[in-house]
Amino acid sequence: MSTAVSPSTAMTRPATRSGSKPKRHYGTHIFLTAMAVMWLIPLIWAVFTALRPIASTNEHGYFSLAGDFNLDNFIQAWSQGGFAKYLWNSVIICVPAVLLVLFFASMMAFAVSRVSWKFNVTLLIMFTAGNLLPPQVLAAPLFEMAKHFQVPYSFSDSGNMLNTYIIVIAVNMAFQMGFCTFVLSNYMKALSADLTEAALVDGAGIWRQYREIIMPLCRPAFAALATLEVIFIYNDFFWPLLFIQSGDRLPVTTAINNLQGEFLNNYNLLAAGAVITVIPTLIVYLLLQRQFVAGLTLGSSKG
């Protein structure tokens, strides 16, 4: 298993290439620029619409540079549209789900990759397969399980697990665990056996091997996976849609679908909502893009 792209191979290659024949890439550049413009247009259009107050668009139409440009739509979406609350709901779901999935997946990965026992491959296959199922396959039973799981009303105002964050966190965690276990077990398998052998000689138990030797060495994998999982779970639309009925508890990705109906005649406000939803992703994109890319390629580097 290789960690994403090794920079050394990427660096050495252009020299040999450009040495053989200097290439002009005009055609390539024209094509790529055209594609890049097509790629950016929907995003730019959303930002453009969001920056124009509805009064300006009513007066001058949507396809005009005339009128004001300001942040009024963002302010309105934030305060009246409830985006502050929705983003907070996303945090409430995302943070525990990501921490739990990494915790459980790292233990499982350790057990299947560093210790040999009868069913480790079987279990790893089961975990990996679970992550590949379409979520809709599980929707009906999970919904009914949550609905028929009675809890005190002091715990949940629905009297069952529907409409709680806990069920969304638990299902997200379970669904992502297979992928994280798979990636982490590949990573741990690649670590030298001598590491734990030395610890074994010193009489270190399983837990110390896991906690003090393997875990610190997996930090790069954790960084990549945590970034990836934050985005995956933040972007999850389906599980909150299934389990959460009261609109004010929805995380932002699912809530924006409801706003589509509410803001039907105010596309400027809808665009502002969409842009607000992109902002956390954008922050990750700017700060942690390398981690994100490493996470995606980690998952696929084993064939």
């Binding site: 594609m35 995003l43 259009w45 990996t128 679908n257």
Partner: protein
């Protein structure tokens, strides 16, 4: 995998050569203390329990419920229904066959348009042309967005009266203006283009990593042998990326089966946008909850999904099992 374990065992405690591998393994297990065994069983047991309760039990229950009739209220109302639900969806449920067609169309579009486009972008960007990083960042951007949000962003672009596309086509405000997401004859195409926006970037990213992993001497050797750029790519580079190719085939199939968010955001998967995943949900939520029918649709989706899943797992774990 088992080599790791064998290496863990110091040579002197290894079973004599010729002894069955099983002996080595049980020798290894005996080396664990009682406490270690307890710790290990917790480390394995808790995640496995979570997987069983939230993934595999519901999968089995989906299969079970598909042979019943149930409105989702009291558990005592569940009635056996034999294969009635399957008969109903295949013969009397109008959206079923359109949904199958749309899922296949979605797969074909991703496989024939979005994935090759991603590969093309990767190949072009791998040439170390100027600005490669900027292009990569642009194409990669949508990969980080949720498909639900992509539906919203493209809705703004596709709207009939105020969308940019009709303005650029010059039909905005005229009777010829197309409602790209509303018109059932075109909306599946519009939705697939929106999905391509994300999928192509994803494929590009994976292939960029794959291309950098190809041994450059392979290409040099092909060039010395007089191969053209196209021959080098299709006969040497592309086959050398086999592991990535398998992952991409699987991702493309699974993404087309999982397509849900975009169509649900547009119109909940009706009026030209029927997909299996959306039909499952339509039968579970809302007024007439028909859990049996929804589950039968879910089982159809499950059975189709098992094809790429089994293919992928046998590729990935096949070698280890034999070892």
């Amino acid at each position: 995998m088992s080599t790791t374990a064998r290496d863990l065992v110091p040579p002197e405690s290894r079973a004599p050569s010729g002894a069955p591998a099983k002996g080595v393994r049980s020798g290894k297990v005996r080396r664990l203390s009682k406490r270690d065994k307890a710790v290990l069983s917790l480390m394995v047991g808790i995640p496995t329990l979570i997987q069983l309760v939230f993934i595999w039990l519901p999968t089995v229950m989906s299969v079970g419920l598909s042979f019943t009739r149930w409105n989702g209220l009291a558990l005592s109302d569940i009635r056996p229904a034999g294969a009635d639900n399957y008969q109903y969806i295949s013969q009397d449920y109008p959206p079923f066959w359109p949904a199958i067609q749309h899922n296949l169309l979605w797969l074909a579009f991703l496989a024939l348009v979005a994935t090759p486009l991603g590969l093309l972008l990767a190949v072009l960007l791998d040439q170390q042309i100027r600005g490669s990083r900027i292009y990569q960042s642009i194409f990669f951007g949508p990969v980080m967005l949720s498909l639900a949000l992509i539906g919203i962003i493209w809705q703004l672009f596709y709207q009939r009266d105020n969308g940019l596309l009709n303005f650029l086509l010059g039909t905005s405000g005229t009777p010829q203006a197309v409602d790209w997401f509303g018109d059932s004859s075109v909306n599946i195409w519009a939705a697939m283009i929106a999905a391509t926006w994300r999928h192509a970037g994803y494929v590009m990213l994976l292939y960029l990593a794959g291309l950098k992993g190809v041994d450059p001497t392979l290409k040099e050797a092909a060039a010395i042998d007089g191969a053209t750029a196209a021959q080098t790519f299709f006969r040497v580079v592309f086959p050398a990326m086999r592991p990535i190719n398998i992952v991409i085939v699987v991702i493309t199939i699974i993404e087309s089966l999982r397509a849900f968010d975009v169509v649900y955001v547009i119109n909940r998967g009706t009026n030209g946008l029927e997909l299996l995943s959306a039909l499952v949900i339509q039968n579970l939520v809302g007024e007439g909850q028909v859990i049996g029918v929804g589950s039968a649709l879910a089982v159809v989706l499950l059975v189709i999904s098992l094809v790429p899943i089994v293919f992928y797992l046998s590729r990935t774990f096949g070698k280890e099992n034999r070892a």
